[in-house]
């Protein structure tokens, strides 16, 4: 456009100085007023972010550990957990005991809290059995029963002509539903 512009051939020192000064003033203004304070804040925030990230990662690892532990425990104790959740019903128990005894009858004695989170029912069982072996089998099968049941004293066995009448106490443990 301008073939006769000789401003680049003969640099005006004055202009150069003025422009240089203007450039430096603008640059320093930007640097000192905007960039440096922002970078300071940036660093502080970045450090804060990293700190929070590390903390979160630690907590996350702990969480994964707990989850693994929990699922392992759950897998190992499937029967126990479901047995505690399983609501105890007298009909079901009578049906189970019927496999070993003839004429089973249940009478609920007490219901109380046990160690805060469990409920303990006490029931009296009256039944007839042919041989004591049935009783052993019953006790053995109790550990695999759908609910947590403990056979307990007093145990009274009385033999009549053909069979044995047994009276004993069972304690059933359920999770306290109110918790």
């Amino acid at each position: 456009m301008n073939n006769f512009d000789r401003s680049l051939d003969k640099i005006d020192m004055m202009k150069l100085l003025i422009f240089l000064t203007v450039f430096m003033v603008i640059t320093f203004t930007f640097v000192f007023l905007m960039i440096i304070p922002n970078i300071k804040d940036h660093r502080v925030l970045q450090a804060e972010y990293k700190r929070v990230l590390v903390h979160k990662t630690r907590v996350e690892n702990l969480f994964f550990e707990r989850e693994a532990e929990l699922s392992k425990l759950k897998a190992e104790n499937v029967h126990i957990i479901s047995a505690f959740k399983h609501p105890f019903t007298q009909q079901e128990f009578v049906r189970y005991a019927g496999k070993f005894f003839a004429q089973v009858s249940l009478a609920e004695v007490t219901k109380s809290e046990y160690k805060k989170e469990f409920i303990e029912y006490e029931l009296n069982v009256t039944s007839m059995l042919k041989t004591p072996t049935n009783f052993y089998n019953f006790l053995e099968g109790l550990n695999r029963y759908d609910s947590i049941v403990q056979a307990d004293f007093p145990i009274h066995l009385e033999s009549s002509k053909e069979s044995i009448t047994s009276t004993f106490k069972i304690k059933v443990y359920d999770l306290n539903a109110t918790r």
Binding site: K15, I35, N38, H55, K56, V59, N77, F135, L139, E140
Partner: protein, 173 residues
């Protein structure tokens, strides 16, 4: 009247030199503004990141608490059920032991097992049979053992044997 041989040229308001400087300064300023803008954006992303991470951490901490609660509940259930299962097994074993103890000559009529005592009603052909075959092992298990005999019409003996353990453990041995 023309005094010059060349045609007058319009003098540019800014020379090439000045234009270059202006462009340079403007570019530098733009660059710095963009750089600053980038920092500001990153700062705000850090800020929101900190908030998000804190929320996430709090959520995880709550879940850890829940897991801890569940774990301890399962452990308590496990402890209780193990105690119950071993009690059932012990009860089975002690009953089995008791019935194994009774010799063929002696017939049991009634057994009353309590936590710390055992009362046996039965029939024995002679007192000695009972004393040698059943009373001796019972004495070794229980702290006190008392037996009363009644003569029956058939010449046998009805007996009542009361055995007690002094202490808390009961007869689950």
């Amino acid at each position: 009247m023309r005094l010059s041989f060349i045609a007058p040229r319009p003098k540019p308001f800014l020379s090439l030199f000045s234009k270059m400087w202006v462009v340079f300064i403007v570019l530098m300023s733009l660059f710095m503004i963009i750089f600053n803008f980038y920092i500001v954006i990153e700062m705000s992303s850090f800020k929101s990141g900190v908030v998000d991470l804190t929320k996430e951490r709090e959520r995880l901490e709550l879940k850890i608490d829940e897991d801890d609660e569940l774990i301890s509940l399962i452990l308590r259930q496990k402890a209780l059920s193990e105690e119950i299962f071993s009690n059932n097994t012990l009860l089975k074993e002690s009953m089995k032991n008791l019935f194994d103890l009774v010799p063929d000559q002696i017939t049991l009529q009634k057994v009353q097992m309590e936590r710390n005592s055992l009362v046996i009603y039965g029939v024995t052909p002679t007192q000695d049979t009972f004393n040698f075959l059943l009373a001796a092992p019972l004495k070794s298990i229980f702290h006190t053992s008392n037996t009363t005999f009644y003569l029956t019409k058939e010449g046998w003996y009805n007996f009542v044997s009361i055995n007690k353990i002094i202490g808390e453990d009961g007869i689950r041995e």
